[in-house]
Symmetry: C2
Subunit: 482 residues, 2 copies
């Protein structure tokens, strides 16, 4: 498949032109500040309470004071299912600025009553009638949908990503530090569900379990809708009901026998809602973003599903409030996007998804220039790394940079080549390099320490490029930086 | 290789006779109570402080009161590198009894000065002169050592296991509950190192890193000696020195170019001790037993390295003080053995070993009869399961029961067939069964819950049969049993 980024494709010029027109057709406006776009301060207060928006609004003028920006999720501010260095930024920020970003789950249409209805942002993104689609392209596939017949973009990539955010001064070779200041569930806008938020868990065909089902009918896809307390009083989710996926006909008339295209509205008259499931089960919430991505440089349009050196769909539940992420910058301005919000997930994300639940995050974004990295914990960082108060968490993948390693068919073949064994090897190599480069250990010291004090876990086995993370406690290093 | 347990071997009768003679030749005495064997109460007090030994000593006579036994580690009470249902038990206990068991690390001879010298138990086990070897068989291989030329048992299995303990009333189909009441490091008996305990970490040829080394000389094996505070004041270990393995000639004249046979005394005049390694690094200790095994039924003599349904060399650092283990019983009396003590280990045990450090554990052993299991968390348990105050931890392996699944060559082929992917699949299947069988969930409920609330981690990738564990929080189940 050439999406306009394979220069060896005989029809490259045509495809390239189509891609550029397509991206342009979404009429992304280049906004100096989305504040202006949202038309006021009102929307801001819902997002983050750490920063006083009124102060932030006027901060631009003040010398040396960080600004606070707000980027809502609307049909205009999201890109769905792909990353692209060709996308026009939605907003420009400076190093040190704060930004509140709304992220919408791409599973909201599993129960539109609870997760879309009455919410202007979600309604604009999910708008889909016979005549009109709020966001046409969903995925990195061909825009005409003639390859697989699923729809524009073919669902080769599924996440609603808000952005990109252009970070001034960020250049290839630099590192972006992203501090997650706050994460809040997005309340249902339907008055029937006041004070509640909802999420969807899809046990889907790409899940690790799918070919292993015990009970009939086999195979099957099952959606479970979960309720979360939007007021923050309760720290657990509970199941509301589940249903088995039935063929769904989208507004353009395409029948989706399986969950093969994101945002297809589920017609609840065609499914059976089973209540009373997971009775007496309380799922501790771990609100986090499955996708936080800088834009990769290797291809012009990149499927949002496989994670890589640029971050992306890492699906590590530790990427929540209080965590700090570090990413290597691949393109000018870094082009940061946020999506795939989760209310909770376990290590492995076994069945294919988490509790997919819209969230709003507040971040501080800091640029570390390449020349300043030597001798710090960010030296030679070429992968996404997480820092908490107590730990460093390094992310390994089956292929550290699958876009470069797997050649021109990378975006297809990555789905056939992943394994946990490979991801463990990558995580081991990264942790060894981290200990040698940033802690000054010899290889023998690093290897011994990894065996006795580093924990390797299965991040996810459902995102094409499978993940293993390696965790080391910071206080192992006596007198080391906090 | 036929060790006397392959009935299809043309020389089965001969090999069988050799095996039986060999096991018998170790002259294991059947001890009603090891108390008698150790000759007194003095040794007891070092072991566990939860149980008053004087009381325990006389408890046998009291109706309905549990007894407290003590099983020291000596050349007479250990079996080295294998499990066998043919072994005579060292001690017999009742369900509900307490037992303190000494476990010796099989790496003590990496630094005999610190880990063997002056310790009568360790000295008797490690005794090896030109004329005499305290424990001859080390491993499940042929006793004549002519297969690989390494020595008796060929090092096909490496752990010094104390036991077996015969649990009265335990029959195949029952479950043994093993409560780990206390775990204490074994202090160095060398007055030079008073108040300290020591452990060895070997970055060895079976490690995950071995073929991936960056620096010269390649390949190499490196031993790092760690110091632990035996008084319990400090909860961290620190490195003392490391050295590169050089060919070591054992007292029988066999040269060991690599670490291919357990307990070979390292001649420190042939190696270079590098001090100052891992300076300013403090490794949090996680004292635990790498090996706790009930004896498997599938073969008469079983390599101690690959773990399986019977437990064995699971190498999960969570198997420490306060944890409770459950194992399915395969042979009459269960035949429990304990070994492979570790001061600390990370998930994956990447380089091949942990901090291998002698420990003494105090356990309570309870038999759950098969008929009593239905409706409990132990229903249909056919694998080792760990319970802590907060969690259930289920253990998956590349092959759940490799001895049965891989046929007659199982003990050889398991080393060629392991992967984390397979172990993850097994852990998934077990957790699904646990949730369905013991929590009454449907398959769809179980699968959804696994994706959002169960964490899968890499237990070890160095023990032949690789492991993935699955952790679920108990308080997810509202009003469930504590």
């Amino acid at each position: 498949m050439c999406s306009g980024d394979d220069r060896h494709c005989p029809q490259f010029d045509l495809h390239r032109q189509q891609l550029l027109e397509d991206l342009d057709a979404e009429r992304r406006s280049f906004l100096k500040s989305a504040f202006v776009a949202t038309g006021g301060v009102a929307a801001l207060t819902a997002g983050g309470d750490l920063i006083r928006p009124a102060e932030a609004q006027t901060a631009t003028a003040r010398q040396g004071r960080p600004n606070h920006h707000y980027l809502p999720a609307t049909a205009e501010t999201v890109h769905w299912g792909y990353f692209s260095k060709l996308l026009k930024p939605q907003i420009e920020i400076d190093s040190g600025d704060y930004i509140t970003i709304e992220a919408l789950t791409h599973h909201a249409n599993d129960d539109a009553e609870r997760m879309v209805k009455g919410d202007p942002g979600a309604e604009s993104v999910y708008l889909w009638t016979k005549e009109k689609k709020g966001v046409n392209r969903r995925g990195a596939g061909p825009i005409d949908g003639k390859l697989l017949g699923r729809g524009a973009g073919e669902g080769l990539g599924v996440h609603i990503c808000t952005g990109p955010v252009y970070v001034r001064g960020a250049e290839p070779g630099d590192v972006i530090e992203l501090r997650i200041m706050d994460v809040k569930p997005r309340p249902s806008a339907n008055p029937k569900y006041s004070g509640k938020a909802f999420g969807s868990n899809a046990a889907a065909w790409w899940g690790f379990h799918y070919k292993e089902l015990l009970t009939e009918p086999k195979p099957r896809e099952v959606i479970t809708i979960y309720e979360i307390d939007a007021t923050g009083q309760r720290n657990w989710a509970q199941a509301v009901y589940n249903f088995q996926w039935t063929p769904q006909t989208d507004p353009f008339g395409v029948v989706h026998k399986t969950i093969d295209y994101p945002g297809v509205p589920v017609d609840h008259s065609t499914i059976k809602e089973n209540y009373g499931v997971l009775k007496n089960v309380r799922v501790p919430i771990r609100p986090h973003f499955g996708v936080i991505a800088l834009t990769p440089k290797e291809a012009d349009i990149v499927d949002s599903i496989p994670p890589g050196y640029f971050g992306g769909n890492m699906d590590n539940w530790r990427v929540g409030k209080g965590a700090t992420m570090y990413y290597p910058v691949a393109v000018p301005g870094a082009l940061l996007s946020v999506g795939d919000p989760h209310a909770s997930q376990g290590d492995s994300e076994l069945c294919g998804t988490a509790i997919e639940c819209s969230l709003t995050g507040t971040f501080q974004v800091i640029v570390h220039k390449k020349a300043s990295l030597a001798g710090t914990s960010l030296a030679q960082l070429d992968y996404p790394m997480l820092e908490t108060q107590d730990e460093w968490v390094l992310h390994g993948f089956s292929y550290a940079n699958y876009l470069a390693e797997l050649g021109e068919t990378a975006q297809k073949t990555i789905y056939e080549k992943s394994s946990v064994d490979l991801a463990l090897r990558d995580a081991f190599r990264k942790m060894r390099a981290f200990l040698m480069n940033t802690k000054g250990l010899t290889e023998d010291e690093a290897i011994s320490l990894m065996s006795i004090a580093v924990d390797f876990g299965v991040t996810q086995v459902v995102d094409g490029n499978w993940g293993v993370h390696a965790i080391i406690k910071k206080n192992i290093f006596v007198g080391a930086e906090a």
